[in-house]
């Protein structure tokens, strides 16, 4: 069996694959954060909770109503996105003119509520979600075994990331969004319904998190606390990449997943810390972030 730096190729590529998948989740989540930040100028501390909600809703809809994975893939983001719109409309909007720190704290409080309520209902141990039948098994690539579902996660995450990038950079709606980022007052003057745009943006960003949650349901353990630790890692990813560009968020997310996977292969104890260490290095040598335009 071929070895690379003393590690069997199959092990290395297996960890690399897991790294890319984790990276796909980081990319989806930081993309949602970046979209929300662009227009609302806030960091959504409830993002982890929304990711968790996406996964929980998938499991619960299956258990209660037998809703299939494919339906959940659309329904869960839709439901969570609608929930996000409600939160934006009834809570965030009321303090829109205040210091952005307050909206950040508000979303933190919302996250505490969501997570706390779900812990009470379901406990902290994981819920089970069966792998959809068509994804059972995998394919032997010669140097490694590729489970079908993992391949699907990568494809789906990349498609959604690319779709988001396309909508924001290439369509008229995206042009409105970008204009709103620059000067929302002026845009309001042109007759565009900015408050509606803000609600929808928050809903969309949150829906992206929920979509990641659905993807995660069959492979990670679904628990009410799954979002909070993930979110902190995603914050580090966002600091590393900067929220200036959509493409930057995607690339940084996947890159960090890969680095994490490699660390797990060569020096496992550091794998949970490595992204934070990269963040420290970036802060020391390139404080505005890899793709950041401003500090």
């Amino acid at each position: 069996m071929s070895m690379i730096f003393g590690v069997p190729l199959a092990v290395l590529s297996g960890q690399l694959l897991i790294g890319i998948i984790n990276g796909a989740f980081y990319a989806l989540l930081s993309l949602g954060l970046a979209v929300i930040f662009g227009l609302l100028k806030i960091i959504n501390f409830a993002h982890g909770a929304m990711y968790m909600l996406g996964a929980m809703v998938t499991v619960l809809m299956f258990n209660a109503l037998g809703v299939s994975y494919w339906v959940a893939l659309f329904m869960a983001p839709l439901l969570v996105g609608a929930f996000g719109v409600v939160i934006e409309y009834f809570l965030l909007r009321r303090i829109a003119g205040q210091d952005h720190i307050y909206s950040l704290l508000l979303t933190f409080g919302v996250a505490l509520i969501i997570q706390g309520v779900l812990i009470n209902w379901f406990g902290v141990s994981g819920l089970r979600y069966a792998m959809p039948d068509m994804f059972k098994g995998g394919i032997n690539l010669g140097f490694m075994f590729m489970p079908y579902y993992r391949a699907w996660v990568i494809v789906a995450a990349l498609l959604v990331c690319f779709g988001t990038w396309f909508v924001i950079e290439k369509t008229k709606l995206g042009a409105y969004l970008r204009a709103g980022t620059e000067d929302s007052q002026l845009m309001q003057g042109f007759g565009i319904n900015v408050p509606l745009l803000i609600s929808l943006t928050y809903g969309f960003g949150v829906a992206l998190a929920a979509f990641a949650g659905v993807l995660a349901a069959p492979i990670y353990s679904v628990t009410p606390v799954m979002g909070s630790t993930t979110l902190i890692v995603v914050f580090a990813v966002v600091v590393i990449g900067g929220m200036g560009s959509i493409g930057g968020a995607i690339i940084t997310g996947i890159l960090m997943g890969v680095i994490e996977g490699l660390t797990k292969t060569f020096y496992p104890p550091a794998s949970s810390a490595v992204i934070f260490l990269v963040m420290v290095l970036v802060l020391m040598f390139r404080p505005s972030g890899l793709f950041g335009k401003e500090a």
Partner: protein, 331 residues
């Protein structure tokens, strides 16, 4: 009357008013002090010490958040660093007098704070919050994997020992007065810092950083110093907490704790001196009473609700709202 006499007159009346205000504040503080001195005879001292430790933690946090405008989401790291260091030293070196253990814990948090500060001030606003949160998570992982912290189990049975080698701190009353003395000392220190010229610069940075820069202040140095002082006091709070409860656990290092201190400061009134103390009293009491009653499993969502309501309805916090009310109605 000529111009200068008029000005002198106005000046005199301002001085008089200031003196009256100063007297009022002194009287308020004296009343509070009496209350705190008498409290352990009415209320269980360990509970009071818990409040004092968290009050100090919140006062420390408020120096950075309320007066300098920097939202750190990683202050749990300092609380834990102080607690673990003190706990480790007192557990492993019997005969070490307690205050030395506490000083060592405070120093550990101070240096950790310096590290955090130098990295995090390279970013502003919300990035600052995210960087401190991520750094604190790094520290959390370190504590989880380290041998000396006891990992998931934490440290138990930390001896309270003797203060200055003489006063037995196993006695709750002596322990209480020691904690009270440290708390009051730190409170006065923060009061002094805030009203000093240095504190004025911090407020200037909070209100308008670019202007402070253009006035020639080395803003980064001011921020780092404020961060380090805040971290040191937070570490001191953690050190004392570990001595009082004789345990140090991962709870103190968790992001949840960083959120709690934000809540205490916000509820009490950020940017006021007394606010964090009131806020800490409020939050510790809520947690205690809820954990005794039928709602004991709902502490977290209720705290989240308090967060949301405070942000939506009274952002100035309890003390801030009272100040506003007094200013409006009593003048």
């Amino acid at each position: 009357m000529d111009q200068s006499a008029k000005i002198a007159d106005i000046h005199k009346s301002i001085v008089k008013e200031q003196a009256a205000q100063e007297r009022k504040r002194l009287m308020l503080n004296a009343a509070l002090l009496l209350l705190l001195l008498a409290a352990p005879f009415a209320i269980y001292p360990v509970f009071l010490m818990k409040i004092l430790c968290f009050a100090l933690f919140a006062v420390a946090f408020n120096l950075l958040f309320g007066f300098t405008g920097l939202l750190s989401f990683g202050h749990a790291a300092f609380l834990a660093a102080g607690g673990y260091t003190t706990g480790y030293l007192l557990s492993n070196y019997s005969g070490l007098s307690t205050e030395l253990g506490i000083i060592a814990g405070t120093l550990a948090a101070t240096f950790l704070g310096l590290g955090f500060a130098l990295l995090s001030i390279r970013r502003q606003g919300i990035y600052f919050a995210m960087v401190t949160l991520a750094l604190a998570q790094l520290v959390f992982f370190f504590f989880v994997q380290s041998e000396f912290t006891g990992g998931e189990d934490g440290m138990h049975g930390i001896p309270r020992g003797h203060l200055l080698g003489v006063i037995d701190l196993e006695n709750n009353l002596s322990m209480y007065y020691f904690v009270l003395a440290v708390f009051i000392g730190c409170y006065l220190l923060v009061q002094r810092i805030v009203s000093s010229p240095y504190g004025q610069v911090l407020k200037a940075i909070k209100q308008n950083e670019p202007r402070a820069v253009s006035l020639g202040y080395n803003v980064d140095r001011y921020k780092v110093l404020a961060f380090v002082i805040s971290a040191a006091l937070a570490g001191l709070a953690g050190s004392m907490k570990s001595v009082v409860f004789q345990l140090a656990s991962l709870n103190d290092a968790h992001w949840h704790m960083s959120g709690e201190v934000i809540l205490m400061t916000l509820v009490g009134g950020m940017g006021t001196l007394l606010g964090p103390v009131i806020g800490a009293t409020f939050v510790v009491n809520i947690e205690y009473h809820l954990s005794q009653g039928p709602l004991r499993d709902w502490v977290d969502p209720i705290l989240g609700g308090v967060f949301v309501i405070t942000v939506l309805a009274f952002r100035s916090g309890i003390v801030g709202e009272i100040q506003k009310f007094v200013r409006k109605n009593i003048g």
